[in-house]
């Protein structure tokens, strides 16, 4: 029986409305408890902030396209692996870190759960191989559905039940977590070199539109009552003037009701909204529409979003939005990788340098922050960098310091060559709001945990929850005036307890912890038509056998399985 008592810290836990009260946090056998015995290991957190472990709602950390990003970028490793710790596995990479560095760096920042944001189903054994090689952090993965032949076929015929049955089967065999949708229809069109930029563009051959796919999947997701909602990467990503499509896509959630037993309140999570909040007609008059987008998000209670903040680094973009990556490559002419995945999806990878002295990049930076600062309900707006698309996850502390300090934003803004143009194209300079650490905890802990339907396990410090506890060297009663100090404190947790075990101390990894793979087991009565369709499709169209497709159990050696019973 391992007992730990973290004493005298400023506890911040939005799930219990605790905002900086000095209190103790007790841990026994991997769970938060009310009290522990006198033999407990006592850790003094006096003058420090105590929060739940971070929950990352959207990050590309494991799987084929992440690995393409690693493979194709040796220059991302050269002279760029500073944190290697003796007696631990080797760490490498900056924008796309190795699995070891991924686990260690998340832990050093006090993060306990990370959602891999896009799993091509046929590649799911690969995703799970990477997940089990990633130390410390708990992980789950979202299989992609938005361009899947079955989904498009069923939804063209308005067969929501069959779609749901297929989703249930696929999530189960891939040991996935929920329904990810990337550029619905557009990626399928990309298989012929085309795209769907508008919600009513027809997908070649399948004759279905993105809005029909989104609507159908929203219905199917609630039919099944999954822990997480549809997780949507919208059409027309990254193009000037896309905010109208963005708002139209968000509107598709209107009238859809949540149905689940996991405390989730939204029916749609719209991811990396920064890339979808652009005005203007071209890169010349490109401008922010963050306010318009957030005005809608703030009103629509059944929607959550994450930011996708640009961090102004040299990074590697990677997405199942194949046509977008091709487009991006035609802008920057750096190497381009693409993988079209039979019947399911596609993916592209392009390195990208967000140069602060390029007006567009600097404006993107401002948009990401504007979105966060316009959030009325921090429980529904989460901090991400769409790692590694807008920047590596290791920059979360910097993003947080920008959101928390006007001074930090100004300091960065003042270094831009096109400062005036950025101020003109955005409203950032007019925003004085500085988020509080409580709001940050909502945006990185309680909010994402609830959004994922995991609020009973992660994101809070209430008794019974997973004992993921992070302590940061920040005095809540007298926060540092220097934003760099905030960034530094969040970058390297003073202490991180993961599943009841001390894994990080003073920013140094001490243990490999006990990581888990979280997956959802959807149980529903067999649907004979769907079974027949799947069997036939594997015989005819796939190039792998159906027996070799489901992820074998040994590939997820420490599973945490969430059962979902679907009533017929």
């Amino acid at each position: 029986m391992t007992e730990i008592l973290i004493t005298h810290g400023f506890v911040i836990d939005p799930t219990q409305n605790i905002n900086g009260d000095v209190a103790d946090v007790a841990i026994r056998d991997g769970k938060i408890v009310d009290t522990v015995g006198s033999g407990a290991k006592v850790i003094d957190a006096k003058g420090k902030v105590v929060m739940a472990g971070g929950v990352d709602v959207h990050s590309h950390v494991a799987g084929p396209k992440v690995n393409v990003g690693r493979l194709m970028r040796p220059e991302d490793k050269l002279f760029k692996s500073p944190m290697a710790q003796e007696k631990f596995r080797m760490e490498s990479g900056f924008s796309v870190p190795s699995v070891f560095k991924t686990g260690y760096d998340y832990a050093r920042m006090g993060y306990g759960f990370v959602m891999e944001a896009a799993m091509p189903p046929i590649h799911s054994p690969h995703v799970h191989e990477e997940i089990h090689d990633t130390p410390i952090i708990d992980e789950a993965a979202l299989p992609v559905f938005g361009n899947n032949w079955f989904v498009m076929e069923y939804l063209r015929n308005k067969e929501v039940e069959n779609t749901a049955a297929y989703i249930a089967w696929l999530i189960r065999v891939t040991k996935g977590f929920g329904v990810k949708v990337v550029n619905p229809g557009g990626t399928a069109a990309w298989a012929w070199g085309l795209n769907c930029l508008k919600l009513d563009d027809k997908v070649p051959y399948f004759e279905i539109t993105p809005s029909e796919i989104i609507t159908g999947l929203l219905q199917a997701n609630e039919y099944l009552g999954l822990p997480h909602s549809v997780h949507l990467h919208q059409n027309d990503l990254g193009n000037p003037g896309n905010f109208l499509t963005t708002i139209d896509s968000l509107k598709l959630a209107e009238g859809i009701k949540t149905k689940n037993k996991f405390g989730r309140t939204q029916v749609m999570h719209s991811t990396h909204i920064q890339f979808h909040a652009y005005g203007g007609e071209n890169w010349g008059n490109f401008e922010s529409k963050a306010k318009d987008v957030m005005d809608y998000v703030n009103k629509a209670k059944n929607i959550t979003v994450d930011l996708g903040c640009v961090t102004l680094d040299e990074t590697t973009t990677m997405t199942a939005d194949g046509p977008f990556e091709h487009h991006l490559h035609s802008l920057n002419h750096i190497k381009w990788a693409n993988t079209d995945v039979e019947l399911e999806t596609a993916a592209g990878v392009v390195p990208y340098v967000y140069d602060k002295d390029i007006r567009v990049c600097a404006t993107q930076w401002a948009i990401g922050l504007e979105l966060g600062l316009y959030a009325k309900d921090p429980e529904r707006v989460f901090i991400t960098t769409d790692h590694p698309n807008a920047g590596p996850f290791t920059r979360y502390p910097r993003v947080i310091s920008w959101l928390m300090c006007r001074k930090a934003r100004d300091a960065t803004l003042n270094t831009f060559r096109h400062k005036d143009k950025v101020i003109e194209a955005t409203t950032l300079d007019s925003i004085d709001r500085e988020l509080t650490l409580y709001e940050i905890a909502q945006m990185t802990r309680s909010g994402p945990a609830r959004c994922l339907g995991l609020s009973k396990m992660y994101g809070g410090l209430a008794p019974g929850m997973n004992a993921d506890v992070a302590v940061f060297d920040l005095n809540y009663k007298s926060m540092p005036t220097d934003p760099v100090a905030i960034e530094k404190a969040l970058q390297r947790a003073a202490l991180f307890v993961k599943s009841g075990e001390i894994v990080v101390r003073d920013g140094t990894v001490l243990s490999h912890g006990h990581k888990k793979t979280v997956w959802v087991n959807v149980k529903m009565p067999e649907n004979p038509q769907v079974v027949r369709d799947i069997t036939q499709c594997f015989t005819r169209d796939y190039t792998v056998g159906i027996n070799n497709y489901p992820v074998r159990d040994y590939l997820a050696p420490h599973p945490y399985v969430i059962d979902v019973d679907v009533e017929a």
Binding site: M72, R73, P74, E75, D76, L78, H333, I334, K335
Partner: protein, 268 residues
Amino acid sequence: MAKVILTPKKVPELMLEAPCITTDAFAKKTPAQIADLEVREGKIPFKLGEYFEIVGNPGESAAETEIEIAGDCSRVKYIGTKMTAGLITVKGNADMYTGGWMKGGKIHIVGDVHSFCGIAMEGGDILVDGNAQNHVGCAYRGDWRGMRGGTIRIRGSAGNDIGTFMLGGTIIIEKEVFIHVSTHAEGGTVIIKGNVTGRVGGQMVKGDIYVLGKIQHILPGFTKVDQVRKEVDGQTFTLDHYIGDLGERHPKSKGKEIFANLYVRAAA
């Protein structure tokens, strides 16, 4: 300039990795401190002093420091990498990465160098009296930003991949070159005084290549546009002017594409 003389004491069993042999690392140190710098043979760290006799004191800065290696360094990698100023002279051969990622100063190799000489160089001068192997002034694997500045002069011949992904600076090879010159380059100048087997300027976007010898196979993506008289490394020649690589994407200026230039000495 204050001069430190390194005399090789023994030949490394494996290759010796000695990125510490730079004026920057030596500056301000005593000979004893220099002898204490770490070098590696495989996974084992050793001291520089185990391989070299070290005599003389360096200057207060890299710029005031001269390093002379009074012997052969055929099995020593990374001499002068990332150096910013000063002078290194090797009175023999040097192995891989000589002058890699160099920013300033001068390196003079009296013998031959192995591959990756001047890799991703940003400034300074490298002079090699002998031959170079492959990948002179190239980019590190995967990097689209190759050599950016400085000058590499090889008095002998060189192998393949000269100035791959080059953005700036000058490479002069005084004798023959095998294949692949300025592949993917977006700038810079390469001068080859001997013959080249082929593949000159493949996938090249911008930049200049001068070949004073013959090219056995000119790429189909290069087309002859005119004949010019130009000064090349101090002498004036009549040169056939080609542009290319027509198969590659090229930036536009005022609606017109700008091509890379290949100048080949015209037949007498």
